[in-house]
């Protein structure tokens, strides 16, 4: 037994020897018999060359270029190969404004990583410096130049829409796998972020032959192994840059938002966030410094208010309240409630202003009567046909949900906030609210006038009024209308993006009642400053209570019968007065959009532009 096992030791060694013998033969074949490898090594080596394609351009509604690229260069180095002689370091110091220590530092840290992938030595080198460097740095090893896309903004408007791009970080590199290479640019906010995959195109890889002096001598395998770069796709926005710019001018010195939507397509025409910034501030070499300054600014210019700020909607919420109650048969256009300065059935809360009463729905909207809607809400929640408050609340909640309250609308922009539409579960919470079966209509009566737990973003407000303008349907609001058709090449036709119509299921006849009332609000009610001749503007004002001075709110659309624009305006901390501060802004925007010049509202324009809050 022992002896037969001992042979196995020999067998093992014999096998090992055999394999090593095969290796020796293979080496003989490679090194002695074949000339191929020798020639290849003497003539050239194969190197990868990365080609960054131009990023897709952005066009605005007028069909002209909004954002394009100005070509710049970056200097990359391969940590394993890099060698910069002192003379060339001096050139770099002179041309790039880096100190010799910095250069040494970048290279030595990278060397420690012992990495084979290229890393960045210097960004945003302009064409002139690039050609000087190209000429003088021929002694360096492991250095390459790469074109990069610095965004070129043709207009100083719409920074919050466009967003910005910057260098991809380590975490994103890891998360996205092989999509990006170190040094690639990635969309950080806005359209640039949402459409990054379309805009960035595809990085190309070229295999080139280099001789032993690191000079390019041609392409490898006739370029068969290259993967060509693909240009980024161009996109066409529905944004009217003139309107956008005008909105930004109106909002100067104030904080707030304007959102203008074309109701029959859902395209966003204006998306003003005030205060804002010049988009070209966040490009090129100054991006980091400027971003830090903007980020520290207490007025939050980087905060995309129309999308991310959540406010209690205030009196504009009476519109969906009326629609839900009409459709559910709780009230009819003829229903009359009394007021008398407050909601009597709940100890005068919520309070109300003085106005003629008792009153019908039309007048209640016109005068923005709190008692009327509190009564409507109470009757809704306590109606016999429901099985208790949980059932009636759910029914009401479903209407609000369908009208686009309390959920993201799926806009083509990152970081959309949801707003808030309370659930029964919220009120069941004992710690912060009431507890299970321990709340009723009176506890949540403030919801009826948009002051309770409900929160909406300006985008949701605009979408809601667009839905009313459409008499019960809406398209998801969106910025991008079309993308350049890929099949036809990048000079091909625009390919429209399809959006599906969303139906609320509320009967069209109820909208006519509410829309008639909204017209009266503008012609003889709280929003007379929004009146425009022959344009039959319909709207609703609101005043939003909050911890600081009240915000002014206005939502509206025009013209009444063939709506071309729906708009929401919110101006923060005006101390109230949706009719005084928000309605005229909306009127100016509507006039600008429909008549392209301001004549009728010249006086309001001067007054609004002069105001600061």
């Amino acid at each position: 037994m022992y002896d037969s096992l001992k042979i196995r030791g020999g067998v093992i060694l014999f096998g090992m020897g055999l394999i090593l013998f095969v290796f020796v033969l293979r080496l003989f074949a490679l090194q002695v018999l074949s000339d191929e490898y020798k020639e290849r090594a003497n003539r050239y080596v194969i190197k990868r060359k990365i080609i960054t394609p131009p990023r897709g351009k952005v066009y605005h509604k007028g069909g002209e270029v909004y954002v394009s690229n100005s070509p710049m260069f970056e200097m990359r180095f391969t940590p394993r190969q890099v060698y910069i002689p002192p003379k060339d370091t001096a050139v770099l110091v002179e041309q790039l404004g880096l100190s010799a220590e910095e250069i040494k530092d970048i290279i030595s840290t990278a060397n420690k990583k012992r990495d084979w992938r290229e890393q960045i030595l210097a960004h945003y080198i302009d064409l002139e410096t690039y050609s000087i460097l190209q000429e003088q740095l021929w002694n360096c090893e492991g250095i390459s130049f790469n074109t990069i896309n610095k965004r070129d903004y043709r207009m100083k408007t719409g920074a919050n829409i466009l967003g910005y791009i910057s260098e991809v970080n380590d975490r994103e590199l890891k998360r996205t796998g092989n999509v990006y290479r170190p040094g690639d640019l990635i969309g950080r906010a806005g359209i640039e972020r949402h459409y990054d995959s379309l805009l960035r195109g595809k990085t190309g890889v070229m295999m080139i032959k280099k001789d032993v002096y690191n000079r390019e001598v041609g392409s490898y395998a006739n370029g068969d192994k290259d993967s060509p770069e693909e240009k980024g796709l161009d996109i066409l926005l529905g944004v009217d840059t003139k309107l956008q710019q005008y909105g930004e001018e109106l909002m100067e010195g104030k904080r707030g938002s304007i959102v203008a939507i074309e109701p029959h397509s859902g395209e966003i025409r204006a998306f003003v966030s005030a205060p804002s910034y010049d988009p070209s501030q966040l490009t090129g070499a100054e991006l980091q410094t400027n971003w830090r300054v903007l980020n520290r600014d207490t007025t939050l210019p980087l905060f995309n208010r129309p999308l991310m700020a959540e406010y209690p909607p205030g009196s504009i919420f009476k519109l969906p309240m009326a629609l839900a109650a009409l459709n559910e048969g709780i009230i009819t256009p003829q229903t009359i409630y009394s007021c008398g300065g407050g909601f009597r059935r709940n100890k005068g809360k919520p309070g109300c202003r003085m106005h003629p009463h008792p009153l019908t729905l039309t007048n209640a909207i016109k005068y923005s009567c709190n008692s009327y809607f509190a009564a409507t809400y109470m009757d809704y929640l306590q109606d016999r046909k429901f099985d208790g408050i949980y059932d009636s609340f759910e029914s009401w909640r479903l209407y609000m949900d369908k009208m686009g309250v309390g959920h993201p609308l799926g806009i083509d922009m990152p970081f959309e906030q949801t707003g808030l539409l309370p659930t029964t579960g919220r009120y069941d919470n004992e710690k912060h609210y009431y507890g299970k079966n321990r709340w009723g209509a009176t506890n949540i009566i403030s919801n009826s006038i948009g002051q309770g737990e409900i929160l909406m973003t300006p985008l949701q407000m605009a979408n809601m009024v667009a839905m009313i303008a459409n008499r019960g349907t809406y398209y998801p609001p969106h910025f991008v209308r079309a993308v350049k058709n890929v099949e036809a090449g990048n000079d091909g036709n625009w390919k429209r993006i399809k959006y599906d119509k969303i139906k609320t299921g509320i009967d069209r006849q109820h909208f006519e009642v509410v829309v008639d009332a909204m017209e009266k609000v503008v012609s003889e009610g709280t929003a007379r400053r929004a009146y425009l001749r022959d344009l039959s503007v319909c709207g609703k004002t609101g005043t939003v209570q909050n911890s600081g001075p009240d915000h002014a709110v206005f939502v509206g659309f025009a013209p009444k019968d063939r709506p071309l624009i729906a708009i929401a305006v919110i101006v923060e901390n005006t101390g109230g007065g949706g009719g005084t501060w928000a309605a005229p802004v909306a009127a100016l925007m509507i006039e600008k959009y429909l008549r392209s010049t301001i004549e009728e509202k010249k006086y309001e324009e001067a007054r609004i532009k002069a105001a600061t809050f």
């Binding site: 037994m1 037969s4 096992l5 001992k6 042979i7 196995r8 030791g9 067998v11 093992i12 060694l13 014999f14 096998g15 090992m16 020897g17 055999l18 394999i19 090593l20 095969v22 290796f23 020796v24 293979r26 080496l27 003989f28 074949a29 490679l30 090194q31 002695v32 074949s34 191929e36 490898y37 020798k38 290849r40 090594a41 003497n42 080596v45 194969i46 190197k47 990868r48 394993r80 190969q81 084979w116 090893e141 492991g142 890889v205 295999m207 032993v212 690191n214 490898y220 395998a221 192994k225 993967s227």
Partner: protein
């Protein structure tokens, strides 16, 4: 001691062609560690076997939590000024534990649970290291099956293992690389030869080789034809052939020995064709990066931008060396650092380019002499523990050598494991030095053991 001289000579060669002072420090540390180990009592190693193994497993698990990631594998400890890879030391610990288990009094290969534990000792670190995403280091442990074989494992198990590996390679590379087929043919013949070896006579050996070679040839042609058919037809043909051959094997009991043997081989062969086919399907369905690494072995030119890049560059570097090489530090290909990882995993390129075929062959021969020496020491050891340990060192060293050199010349998939005593890297050098020092220690106490009536 001669081994030590040999290894030191190799180390210095490796050192001079790279220029890292850091490695010098590691050499000092390794020598010191080796010296300390040399001073220890030989019985210590057997005594601490299980404890060291447990400690090693603990380190492997610990590194999952507090380790750092290098090249996508979370297998390194960072100790401030230097980094350490515990799997390098776990190799030694695993050999110690395995050797101790195999040399325990009640151990028998016929006992299934004993066998399972022996395999378990090998496979536990494999599992953890694969989880660290360091598949390369994990495969190294599999070579310890050779120790089991030497100590009495049923050769059929080894044969099946090797043949399955061979069949997989065959299936993937048949159309492209005749050299691979050659290696597999050699391996298969060898396996059949050893698995039937009871009372070896020249005649039997000759017949075995002839028969297995013949069978292999038939299968190569068969498999080649088979791959050109559609998957459904492949399955039908295979299934019926498999059944037919089993039937034939049973029915042919009365026939002469060679006929029966051929049918037996056919049955086994068919089994491997099934394995090969399924491997082909599995590989084509693997995630792209894994698939690439394997397929690139057979034709690096399919992907010169990605996985094939290393292999092409490495082959060019070695191929440009010629018979005598370009001379020390004259390799312009490696000097300009065109081969990725050329200080670590692809260090053999430098040897190939600068010292040519003679130099690289000589290197392989010196390694083989080292292997011969280890085997000699192991066979002359008087305890089963020492012998098993020796074979463990032998297997691990050889596996590193074969895979590392094999991948630089495009015979083995690119698996990131270092070339012992050559590659840059402290953990690896220290690990191998400790491994050999223990070996030398056990060997130098051989006389003492004899004296103490063991």
């Amino acid at each position: 001691m001669s081994i030590y001289a040999v290894t030191m000579d190799r180390q210095s060669t490796g050192m001079l062609s790279t220029e890292y002072g850091r490695q010098l420090i590691w050499i000092g540390v390794s020598l010191f560690a080796g010296f300390i180990i040399f001073l220890l009592d030989f019985r210590i190693f057997e005594a601490v076997g299980y404890f060291a193994y447990g400690f090693g497993i603990f380190l492997l698990i610990l590194v999952l939590f507090i380790g750092i990631e290098v090249n996508g594998a979370k297998s390194w400890f960072s100790l401030g000024f230097f980094q350490m890879q515990p799997s390098e030391f776990v190799k030694t610990f695993t050999i110690l534990a395995l050797a101790k288990y195999l040399s325990s009094v009640n151990f028998s290969f016929k006992n299934l649970s004993n066998l399972a534990i022996a395999f378990g000792i090998i496979l536990l670190p494999v599992a953890i290291i694969i989880y660290q995403n360091d598949t390369g280091s994990a495969t190294v442990f599999l070579s310890l099956i050779l120790v089991l074989y030497r100590e009495g494992l049923n050769p059929i198990l080894l044969a099946v293992g090797i043949l399955m590996a061979a069949a997989v390679l065959l299936a993937l590379g048949l159309q492209n690389d005749l050299v691979v087929v050659g290696i597999i043919a050699g391996l298969t013949i060898l396996t059949f030869y050893i698995s039937n070896l009871r009372r070896p006579s020249l005649r039997t050996i000759f017949i075995q080789i002839l028969l297995s070679g013949l069978t292999l040839l038939v299968f190569m042609i068969f498999v080649n034809l088979l791959f050109q058919l559609s998957p459904e037809i492949q399955l039908i043909i295979l299934g019926s052939l498999f059944l037919a051959s089993i039937l034939a094997y049973i029915l042919l009991t009365g026939f002469s020995e060679p006929v029966k043997r051929i049918t037996g081989y056919l049955t086994i062969g068919l089994f491997f064709v099934v394995v090969a086919l399924s491997a082909n399907y599995v590989v084509s369905n693997l995630p792209t990066h894994m698939n690439n690494r394997i397929m690139v072995l057979f034709n690096p030119e399919i992907d010169p931008q990605g996985s094939g890049y290393n292999v092409i560059q490495s082959k060019i570097a070695i191929g440009s060396g010629g018979i005598t090489g370009k001379g020390f530090k004259q390799g312009n290909y490696t000097k300009y650092k065109f081969v990725p990882k050329q200080e670590t995993d692809f260090i053999f390129c430098t040897v190939g380019e600068e010292f040519g075929w003679l130099g690289s062959s000589l290197t392989l021969i010196i390694y083989f002499l080292l292997l011969l020496r280890i085997r000699f020491m192991a066979e002359n050891a008087k305890t089963r523990f020492a012998r098993a340990y020796g074979y463990g060192v032998l297997s691990i060293l050889f596996f590193h050598l074969a895979v590392n050199v094999g991948m630089t010349i495009g015979l083995v998939p690119v698996i990131g494991i270092p070339l012992p005593f050559f590659s840059y890297g402290g953990s690896s050098l220290l690990g191998f030095t400790v491994m050999l020092a223990i070996m030398l220690n056990l060997f130098s106490y051989r006389k003492t053991v004899l004296g103490s009536k063991m």
